[in-house]
């Protein structure tokens, strides 16, 4: 078994589910012969046919609405939105229909669909190809929002997302599509949703992140280790519904927490985690929960995008800041 990238793991998961369940269909723009602009669906149309891997007209509202209609009739549509910046025409269908169908029909009609989309900055892409707007979706009751940060978790979480009986927004961090390779056995074993993953255990500070920023976060954890500071690192993975228990458990041990995300700061998902910690961990916190985030600006065009993204240096400085506090009893 050779090691594969995150985007190859996505492809492997899609192929696995297409082979396993004939109700799974892929819908998207340029996903067929072309294999998707990031190659996430490369070879799938040749293998499973154009009836299962469908190049659609160029219309994102349509992708959202078709997915809803198909899902209610027992299919498992997996919709690719080419870039997250183009998901907004489908918002009406995600927010007003996919997320609500089960509730408004008291379980009579359901919407087991997945909307996958590459997201995030750092790939020198044109305008509108770099934003991280996950918290627009984490705010919506009825949705799941899932973000993998490694090939292994991309495979296991995407299997779980496709098999989930409710709609899932599956955000693929494009900056790390090909950053690392891992051996990912194609064994069909899904990873649990609604669960945070502790990537590294530690005792002095908890670092919480997701998606591409996991990599800078892990680098900082390594630096800290070299400096004799023990950081626990948590990959949130499912942002909604949030597994706050794992984060609380960690913070009750470390007493300190830094949340790192590349999305803009205001109403970013870090605020939710910080607020939960403020309510439920105030008695164990030794320092304020700090956030390292993208700025409240438009993501700059690519010459400046790396300055927009939280850097290892910014993360380290913030961790150092929470480490200097001592709890005043």
């Amino acid at each position: 078994m050779s090691a594969i990238t995150l985007v190859e793991a996505v492809n492997q998961a899609l192929a696995h589910e297409l082979a396993r369940d004939e109700n799974v269909v892929l819908l998207g723009e340029d996903i067929g012969m072309n294999g998707g602009v990031f190659r996430a669906t490369a070879g799938l149309q040749a293998r499973f046919g154009s009836k299962r891997v469908i190049d659609t007209p160029l219309a994102e509202t349509m992708l959202g609405g078709l997915g809803v209609g198909m899902a209610t009739q027992g299919l498992r549509p997996v919709v690719e939105i080419q870039f997250m910046g183009f998901i907004y025409p489908a918002m009406d269908h995600i927010v007003n229909h996919a997320s609500r169908m089960r509730n408004r029909t008291r379980g009579r009609l359901t919407c087991p669909m997945v909307i996958r989309t590459p997201y995030g900055a750092g790939i020198r892409a044109p305008e509108h190809h770099s934003e991280s707007t996950e918290s627009m979706f984490t705010h919506i009751p009825g949705l799941r929002v899932v973000v993998p940060s490694s090939p292994f978790r991309a495979y296991g979480l995407l299997l779980a997302a496709i098999r989930d009986p409710d709609p899932v927004i599956f955000l693929e961090p494009s900056r790390i599509y090909r950053l690392i390779k891992q051996e990912v056995p194609d064994n069909g074993e899904a990873l649990p949703l609604d669960t945070c993953f502790v990537l590294k255990e530690g005792t002095d500070v908890t670092l919480v992140s997701w998606g591409a920023m996991m990599h800078e976060t892990l680098q900082v954890a390594q630096q800290l280790e070299n400096d004799g500071i023990s950081a626990e690192v948590i990959d949130v993975a499912t942002l909604k519904p949030l597994d706050m228990d794992t984060i609380l458990q960690s913070v009750s041990k470390t007493g300190r927490c830094v949340v790192i995300h590349e999305a803009a700061r205001t109403s970013g998902f870090g605020a939710e985690i910080a607020a939960e910690l403020g309510e439920k961990a105030w008695d164990v916190l030794k320092a304020p929960v700090l956030r390292v985030t993208g700025f409240d600006t438009i993501v700059p065009l690519y010459r400046k995008e790396m300055q927009y993204l939280p850097s290892v240096e910014r993360i380290r400085d913030t961790v150092d800041a929470v480490l200097v506090y001592e709890r005043i009893v």
Partner: protein, 363 residues
């Protein structure tokens, strides 16, 4: 030799009518309508029930027993005609006005009252579990119908989807995107435009420069036609043919049914603010119910005794539905959590407990 100024596309939209407002046939009725008093009476029953249901719903709203309700007065032939032309295994994807179609397909009157009366169980549709519930966001339902039709095609089932849309809705992108994909994928779906001339306060003249709304389908490669929406024979026949073609894999179709919105947009609206009552009165004698009754009387298959017996029966059925609605056991407040996901996520447990602490776990 090439013609550098050739006409490369042409289209026409036909208008179909069988029954005039006087109840007179202007062309012979096709099968299965021809010489079929049983079918005419069934249509008449559904039309009258739709009208009487509507009147009762408005009364319930006016007396504070139900919330906002959209009247269908004067537009019953569209809902009933379509509902009756559909097969049971087809799927209806409505917007929010065509209660007559739901009722024809077996949705219970008390379910309809429950929906507009603020109870989600009104969308349970126990009798017709694949039909979509009401759809409030304009035109979005057209794409759901296309998706349903795509699923039928994928599973090679001989079924079709029907989506209603209003005249205002045809200005929205969802409508075009739905017709476009239905055209290019030859989906078994029929888009039924209820052109009642008004989108709340905006008249059709301010909605589009198109001469017909049907022709919007031509742009997507669909066949399209206009019918007299107050003539149930025309609505039924056009829908019946379109659904047959759709189920046979011959593609999607657009029907624009011309009618007039007699009532306010909803009970929350006051149409006197923006339209002249004289224009409304002018349309009173177009009434789809009256014209079918005149026709049946002229055929000697309906009389005053039939009429009063019918009204008596329907009134009793409606009263029984109202009683069931009024005696409804409230659903548990925790239902707002329990149908959000298939399994309640741990993250929601605390909030669910909180609602129980304040309101109990019953109602």
């Amino acid at each position: 030799m090439t013609d550098n100024n050739a006409v490369v596309a042409q289209f026409e939209i036909r208008y179909h009518q069988f029954l005039t407002k006087e109840g007179v046939l202007v062309q012979p009725l096709p099968e299965p309508l021809d010489n079929n008093p049983t079918l005419w009476k069934e249509m008449y029953y559904h039309l009258v029930r739709n009208r009487m249901f509507d009147e009762k719903a408005i009364k319930l709203q006016r007396t504070g027993q139900m919330s906002t309700y959209p009247s269908t007065e004067g537009q019953e032939a569209i809902a009933v005609g379509v509902g009756m032309a559909m097969h049971r295994e087809d799927v209806l994807v409505p917007y929010y006005r065509e209660c007559g179609a739901h009722l024809v397909r077996g949705v219970k009157m008390d379910e309809m009252f429950m929906y507009w009366g603020g109870d989600e169980r009104g969308s349970l549709y126990e009798q017709i579990p694949n039909d979509f519930p009401y759809c409030v966001p304009i035109a979005t339902q057209c794409l759901h119908a296309a998706g349903v039709a795509a699923a039928f095609k994928y599973k090679q089932e001989k079924r079709a989807a029907v989506s209603f849309i209003g005249d205002g809705g045809t200005s929205k992108g969802d409508f075009y995107e739905a017709m476009n994909v239905a055209g290019v994928w030859h989906l078994p779906v029929v888009f039924l435009i209820n052109n009642n001339q008004w989108a709340i306060s905006v008249p059709i003249s301010q909605q589009t420069a198109c001469k017909t709304l049907a022709q919007k389908g031509i742009a997507a490669g669909l066949s399209a036609e206009q019918v007299d929406g107050d003539d149930i024979f025309a609505v039924y026949h056009a829908t019946h043919l379109a659904l047959d073609r759709a189920r046979q894999g011959k593609g999607a179709h657009v029907i624009e049914a011309i009618t007039y919105r007699m009532g306010d947009h909803t009970t929350a609206d006051d149409a006197s603010r923006y339209r002249d009552n004289e224009a409304v009165q002018k349309h009173r004698d177009e009434c789809p119910i009256l014209r079918l009754r005149k026709f049946m009387e002229s055929q000697n298959v309906w009389n005053a005794a039939d009429e009063s017996a019918l009204i008596e029966k329907i009134a009793a059925d409606i009263e029984a539905a109202v009683t069931r609605y009024q005696q409804l056991t409230p659903c548990p407040v925790t239902d707002m959590f329990d149908y959000l996901y298939e399994t309640l996520p741990d993250a929601l447990q605390e909030q669910r407990d909180e609602v129980i602490a304040y309101f109990g776990d019953r109602s």
